[in-house]
């Protein structure tokens, strides 16, 4: 995993609440056995018209959204299915951070594991960002993970929360499995002192 320090980039706003992971990537794109090419399915039903051509009204398809690396969306982003294909697809498309007033628990956890930064901001800041984007669809933001701040186009900085462990892992490009593997002795001790409730191997 690549370390994240600051992310400065063009933002695109998808002003919809409760965007579920079926919208982020429909299930029919989940038949792959690897992580490649998932960007093709990102927001597929919204990005394309029924005849397969790009929907010109969809924010990601507007010319000024080309190269955007920060997605801004309404509250409860990523609700529904636990598919990690959702953050994989966002990352594959080029997004490095998602900013929203709130995230669904499983999506947030999945995104943190792969280095797609979920940034939680106040609803009022979100409303401001939507308004700023309406007047400047080329707006750029800076997300500083170490400082836990988002710098708005007007220079104002707002803070966002992130748990210390996820922050450390993202800043140093360390994946969480490594930490778990380092706990092998404690895990073995736990297993030795706890009876096994079921054995699937019969």
């Amino acid at each position: 995993m690549q370390p994240i320090a600051t992310i400065t980039g063009k933002a695109v706003v998808l002003p919809v609440e409760n965007i579920d992971t079926d919208q982020i990537i429909p299930a029919r794109f989940l038949k792959v056995t690897d992580k490649s090419g998932l960007a093709a399915g990102l927001f597929e039903a919204w990005r394309y018209l029924p005849d397969g051509t790009p929907n010109p009204d969809f924010p990601l398809n507007r010319p000024e959204a080309a190269g955007a690396t920060i997605l801004i969306s309404g509250r409860n982003f990523g609700c529904g299915s636990s598919r990690e294909h959702a953050p994989w697809a966002l990352q594959d498309y080029g997004f490095r951070a998602v900013i929203a007033p709130s995230f669904a628990d499983i999506f947030r956890s999945n995104a943190l594991k792969i280095g797609l930064l979920p940034v939680t901001i106040e609803q009022t800041i979100y409303d401001e960002l939507v308004a700023m984007y309406a007047s400047d669809p080329q707006m750029t933001l800076t997300v500083d993970l170490a400082a836990q701040t988002v710098t708005l186009p007007n220079g104002r900085q707002v803070n966002f929360p992130i748990d210390a462990f996820s922050k450390y892992c993202l800043l140093h490009g360390v994946d969480q499995l490594g930490f778990l593997l380092s706990q092998a002795d404690a895990i073995a001790a736990y297993e030795a002192s706890h009876p096994q409730p079921v054995k699937t191997t019969g």
Partner: protein, 474 residues
């Protein structure tokens, strides 16, 4: 005297390899890891790349359910898989399980089925356990007083390699459901009403514990329906304290303890319910007595109404954001605000999914098909949750009732719940579905889903229009 603890806290505490600190999350031990073909292949790839083994194949079980067809068996008794991508995904799971020594219920096996149906029916799901799966409806298993939740594929890899997860302790929420359900009102209506009342994000950050008179009166299968849709209310897990109903269900199941071991287990399980005076971080309430059959009109499971209510009007919404969401949902659904859903024509009825595909669901649905015909022009898919449910239903003749009425009786699997196998709702068509999600395109591109109970779905199947099941009950 120690501090009174909730059911969740007891299960959480008992599985701490390492408690959380300000710097690090808890290391939580996992008793049972269920895997399926869609969310596991990349985790096995990760294991191979790092030269890791599966730490506890004896605490892991695979099944095939999501991308599998549910078409009836051919003359050789085989369920044919035609989609090359599904074939490759299933083959990958077969290979992964064989290489790492993980038991697998393959497509067509006598025990195969939807992951959240087979765990409980095999007796693998037990009170007090921690259970995870790369599937958000893992919350289903909480009906037994287990802490069960969905995880992503990275975490599937974590559990395969270490049998543990890194977790921050979630907050607790008591969901008190008092009163008694009226005739024709079911567990599905309880959970749809709860999500309609508190919204799809209301449970974010919490583990629900369902309690109260209405919950105590439910069977295990009904409790599973409720816990299943906890995630639709935003809660990653939902739990019900184990009681005699739980223990009676457990007794004699293949993986449940036997004889004296069972008695000892029951004695342990009886200590799990939340202590008197245990404190929850939050509380939600609902009165079961006032509930009517519920149905959804929109594009998330919180957009539900009593079946005899009109579709909400955007101008009645409290704020511009919910107005915009309702406008968008009604445009997708092609529904008129202020009009009733009752009597709305339907093209497809789907009875199945990890929410409502168990024997009691099929029995409930069958009562409306008995001696009736599916309405002309309606496609009705009845999909048992597992091969075991299928055999049990056939043993009591339910399959004949469905088939004689003109419904399709299919093989076990996730089927039309999620639009990733051949069972889909065509674009623009209306479905009344017993599944759990009415998201745009969930049941196929352009599909228009109305979520409801098996009773409402069956009543709708025989009339061809959205129907209050109470009008067909004698």
């Amino acid at each position: 005297m120690s501090k009174p603890r909730t059911l969740f806290e007891k299960v959480w505490d008992a599985h701490l390899v390492r408690p959380e600190t300000p710097e690090t999350p808890a290391v939580l031990y996992i008793d049972l890891h269920l895997i399926h073909e869609v969310t596991s292949p990349q985790a096995f790839t990760e294991l191979r790349q790092r030269g890791l083994r599966v730490r506890r194949p004896d605490k892991t079980l695979g099944t095939m359910d999501h991308s599998t067809p549910t078409t009836p068996r051919n003359h050789l008794g085989i369920i044919p898989v035609i989609d090359p991508m599904a074939i490759s995904q299933l083959e990958q799971l077969r290979k992964n399980c064989a290489e790492f020594g993980i038991p697998l219920f393959e497509l067509g096996d006598e025990n195969q089925g939807i992951v959240h149906v087979i765990g409980p029916e095999q007796g693998l799901t037990q009170p007090g356990m921690t259970i995870v799966c790369g599937d958000s409806h893992t919350s289903t298993h909480g009906a037994f007083g287990a802490l069960a939740f969905g995880i992503g594929t990275s975490e599937v890899g974590h559990v395969l390699a270490t049998q543990c997860l890194l977790q921050r302790k979630p907050k607790t929420c008591a969901v008190r459901i008092d009163g008694r359900l009226g005739l024709g009102v079911t567990a599905k209506d309880i959970i749809l009403a709860l999500i309609a009342k508190y919204g799809v994000g209301g449970g974010t950050g919490y583990v629900f514990e369902y309690m109260g008179e209405a919950i105590r009166a439910l069977s295990m299968e009904e409790r599973m329906t409720i816990c299943n849709m906890s995630i639709e209310g935003g809660a990653r897990a939902g739990m019900v304290a184990p009681d005699d109903t739980t223990f009676e269900y457990m007794a004699g199941r293949p993986f449940a303890p036997k004889g004296a071991d069972f008695e000892a287990a029951v004695a342990r399980w009886r200590t799990l319910p939340s202590d008197e005076g245990a404190v929850f971080d939050h509380e939600l309430t609902l009165s079961a007595s006032e509930l009517k059959p519920m149905i959804t009109y929109g594009t998330n499971p919180g957009m539900g109404i009593p079946i005899d209510a009109p579709v909400p009007r955007p101008e009645d919404m409290p704020d511009p954001r919910s107005r915009a969401a309702l406008d968008k949902a009604l445009a997708y659904m092609g529904l008129e605000p202020g009009k009733p859903l009752l009597g709305h024509p339907v093209d497809v009825v789907f009875i199945g999914s990890c929410t409502n595909s168990r024997l009691s669901d099929l029995r409930q649905a069958a009562q409306f098909f008995r001696g009736r015909k599916v309405a002309p022009g309606v496609r009705v898919m009845v999909v048992p949750g597992s091969q075991q449910v299928k055999r049990a239903a056939e043993a009591e003749g339910l399959d004949r009732i469905f088939k004689e009425a003109g419904a399709e009786w299919r093989e076990a699997g996730c089927s039309a719940c999620l639009g990733m196998n051949d069972d889909k709702v065509p674009p623009g068509k209306y479905a009344v579905s017993t599944s759990n999600r009415n998201f745009e395109g969930r049941q196929g591109p352009g599909a228009r889903t109305m979520l409801a109970s098996p009773l409402t779905a069956a009543a709708t199947a025989v009339t061809g229009v959205v129907t209050d099941p109470r009008t067909l009950l004698n």
